[in-house]
């Protein structure tokens, strides 16, 4: 063996070492100092040989990682339970296991001038629209920041409108969700050190869907989806409707109900807007405290805060019992929205709408509705309209939007993404 090495020329000595002597699977040749430094910093071993212009980089890196666990932010009843972890390689394995297709592409990037974090753009080459893929890559390449700590950084650096309260990128820790998005012709971005994958382009309706919709019977799944639209409406508008009805349009409430509401509000010294702001504000504080506290104490605080403060506030005459019902229902609804990021945009908007309702009643609510709908209609996510496929009308894509039709009938991929291969399922 060594003999043959002695005989080889300078050039192929490297080849021979890498092919015959080293038993590590991932070996690459390097020829620049920068590359050498980068590889050492990423945990590789670099093998340099005297008189040779090239060196070998051996993937000897190993790090401790979290085990694969059940998704904590998007749990489902049925279907796969695994979720991404902080290790990019493990995450890619998750996807590879699900897509054994040579056209499944992983394009690697390095993000961060100093952190040099690995980032992978994945798509299926013969499904995803080229323009979309190029646009994503272009935006990723444009990122110039010292370190990319988490996918939230990437999300905010590549989104279309950073002023908008609405999330324009879908982040998920469920591999099945990523795979289904890839199969629709979307592009997913995975970042090392972060268990959340980013899916682009994102549309409004995606935030109200959950992977469990596809694991249940279609009638049930459709009804649950419709319920989620009602839930979104409640999460956004219920407190404002209460304010508007109490302050401006008492005539709208049926007489008997109006009398009982008036009786329960007797002694409440504040107008309905202030009453609602007090309760909603308290709830926001409780919610923030619940996130910070250790899990065991967090629940206790939730109960103490919710029950005790609510009850005490009513008996102290600061708020009316009906206000407590309204606030509680709103809070529960905003937790029922499958995507956390949409839930928080609703939280912000809710306060705006409450103010509008407090000053202009139903007219204010209507104007805020117009304002929000104008905003989302103007919004785009990577070249496709945010309101797709509802607006502009694409009836062919409606099979899987407000309701979910049987999988039997979903023969084509969504047209809105202009996939190269439209057929999804044989007849």
């Amino acid at each position: 063996m060594l003999e043959s090495l002695e005989n080889s020329t300078e050039n192929n000595i490297i080849d021979k070492i890498s092919e015959k002597i080293i038993t590590i699977s991932n070996v690459s040749k390097i020829d620049s100092l920068n590359q050498c430094i980068y590889d050492i910093l990423s945990g590789n071993t670099v093998l340099l040989i005297a008189d040779s212009k090239k060196g070998l980089s051996l993937a000897t890196q190993a790090w401790e990682g979290r085990d694969i666990s059940e998704s904590s932010t998007e749990p489902t009843v049925k279907g796969p339970k695994d979720s991404f972890t902080e290790t990019l390689k493990t995450n890619i394995v998750h996807l590879r296991r699900r897509i054994k297709d040579p056209n499944f592409i992983l394009d690697k990037f390095n993000i961060g001038r100093r952190s040099k974090t690995d980032l992978v753009v994945t798509y299926i080459k013969d499904i995803a629209n080229e323009e979309l893929v190029n646009e994503v890559k272009k935006r990723i390449e444009k990122i110039d920041i010292d370190s990319a700590l988490s996918s939230g950084y990437i999300e905010q650096l590549i989104e279309d409108d950073f002023l908008s309260p609405f999330p324009q990128v879908l982040s998920t820790e469920r591999p099945d969700k990523v795979v289904s998005a890839l199969m629709e012709g979307r592009v997913a971005i995975l970042l090392d050190t972060d268990p959340f994958a980013l899916i682009v382009p994102a549309n409004m309706s995606m935030f109200i869907q959950s992977p469990s919709d596809y694991n249940e019977r279609w009638i049930f799944a459709s009804l649950i989806r419709l319920l989620r639209y009602v839930i979104s409406f409640i999460a956004l508008y219920l407190p404002s409707l209460y304010i508007a009805l109490i302050a401006f349009h008492q005539g709208l409430i049926p007489t008997k109900l109006a009398i009982s509401i008036a009786a329960s509000r007797e002694g409440v010294p504040f107008p309905s807007l202030i009453e609602a702001l007090i309760m909603e504000g308290t709830l926001e504080i409780l919610r923030e405290a619940g996130v910070r506290l250790p899990r065991a104490i967090g629940q206790a605080v939730g109960i103490v805060g919710g029950l005790v403060i609510g009850e005490a506030a009513v008996s102290a005459g600061i708020v009316s019992p009906i206000m407590v019902i309204v606030v509680a229902l709103t809070a529960i609804s905003s937790f029922a929205i499958p995507q956390y990021s949409l839930g928080i945009s609703f939280r912000i908007l809710r306060f705006g709408i409450m103010l509008a309702a407090g000053f202009l009643g139903l007219y204010g609510i209507l104007l805020s509705f117009i304002l929000i709908s104008v905003h989302i209609v103007k919004l785009k996510s990577f070249g496709t309209e945010y309101t797709n496929p509802l607006i502009p009308y694409r009836p062919k894509d409606w099979k899987d939007c407000i309701i979910r039709k049987p999988i039997m009938s979903m023969k084509n991929r969504p047209e809105m993404l202009k996939p190269k291969d439209i057929k999804r399922k044989g007849d």
């Binding site: 349009h249 409430i253 049926p254 139903l362 007219y363 117009i370 304002l371 104008v374 607006i391 502009p392």
Partner: protein, 365 residues
């Protein structure tokens, strides 16, 4: 001239036209036309008015199609030359400005009487205008998309309300048909011009369309949906209220809706709910005409459109607030109907004649 990616589809064009036409007319039509006709035959006038609009729509599209990649504000110069073209442009722009002001004022009046009786109308109008500007600065594409959002809501609410009203419908109220002959009906047709004008926006929409060949289809659908709205409104309005009562209340349809009772429901006074349709319908009409006016100004004076959008805001407001009371608003509305008849009917015919006489041939680049 604009991003080819974002062309308007035929559906979008139809809905944009329909949304512009469905506006204040819905709840006032049994009265505005009823006063002139004074027989239960209001619906015949509405129907005839619609048929005439089809004809005018056809003429407008024929004219616009001669210059498929130009809007009215550009080809008016090609047809009549620099000075006359300028005058025609100004006429159309003034028309759209008046249209917007009218919508804003009516919205203020309705909101004040049904939703916010203590808030000053000025404030209501200013808020509405600001929400309008936010959409208009986005350009034509968001505008047509917002029409697509609201139009199904308006249709659903309107027709379900009309369906519920059938309970009080008396067929005898709309009889006898043509009891006083055809003459009152003909007189009514002229008044219907006020509710059908608005399809002129195809002047501006056509070059933005993906298939400008289908502009005629879009216009026809765009007119027939409002025709259905107004026909329903006039038949049900008079069928429930009788012609005598219809011409004595300001908003006949609101009068019908206020009689609804929902046992076990949460809503006591339904007309408030109905006024929501109204705000949405007026919003789309307002925004489209506001955009057309600013667009026209920017093409005529060759300046950035955003400048004119903001410049028009106070003008629309001042014109809108100017009439002292609702009676004057409605009287001005009748005058405005004549103006609309000129812009949508006479002017396109005139321009077409000039084309044939002068032999203007436009070749697409």
């Amino acid at each position: 001239m604009n991003n080819p990616k974002d062309k308007i589809t035929t559906t979008q064009a139809s809905i944009a036209i329909a949304s512009t036409l469905v506006g204040m007319g819905i709840i006032t039509i049994p009265r505005t036309v009823g006063v002139v006709v004074n027989t239960p035959d209001v619906w015949i006038s509405v129907l005839l008015g619609g048929l005439i609009s089809f004809l005018f729509g056809y003429i407008v599209v024929t004219l616009s199609k001669k210059f498929p990649d130009k809007t009215f504000f550009q080809y008016s110069y090609d047809i009549t030359g620099r000075y006359l073209g300028f005058i025609f442009n100004i006429i159309v722009i003034v028309y759209f400005i008046l249209f917007s002001s009218f919508e804003v004022r009516i919205l203020g009046e309705i909101t004040k009487s049904y939703l916010l009786d203590k808030t000053p109308i000025e404030l209501i109008m200013i808020f509405f205008l600001s929400v309008g500007v936010y959409l208009v600065v986005g350009g034509i594409n968001p505008i047509v998309r917002i029409c697509q959002v609201y139009f199904p809501i308006i249709c659903l609410l309107f027709f379900s309300v009309m369906f519920i009203s059938l309970e009080h419908f008396e067929i005898n109220n709309i009889r006898p048909v043509l009891g006083k002959g055809i003459l009152p009906v003909i007189r009514g047709v002229k008044v219907t011009a006020l509710i059908y004008t608005g399809f002129e926006i195809i002047f501006i929409l056509l070059p933005f369309m993906k298939n400008s060949d289908k502009a005629l289809k879009a216009t026809m659908i765009g007119i027939s949906i409002p025709l259905l709205f107004y026909l329903t409104s006039s038949i049900i309005g008079i069928g429930v209220l009788t012609i005598e009562e219809s011409i004595n209340v300001t908003y006949p349809l609101m009068a019908i809706v206020s009689e609804f009772e929902f046992p076990g429901g949460f809503i006591e006074r339904f007309e408030v709910f109905f006024s929501i349709i109204w705000v949405l319908a007026l919003y789309t009409s307002f925004v489209v005409s506001y955009y057309c006016a600013s667009f026209g100004l920017s093409k005529t004076f060759k300046k950035d459109i955003n400048f004119f959008i903001y410049a028009l805001l106070p003008i629309i407001y001042i014109i809108g607030i100017f009439p002292e009371n609702l009676d004057i608003v409605f009287k001005l509305g009748d005058l405005f109907a004549d103006f609309g008849l000129f812009v949508a009917g006479l002017m396109p015919i005139l321009l077409l004649l000039i084309i044939y006489i002068k032999g203007v041939v436009y070749e697409k680049k």
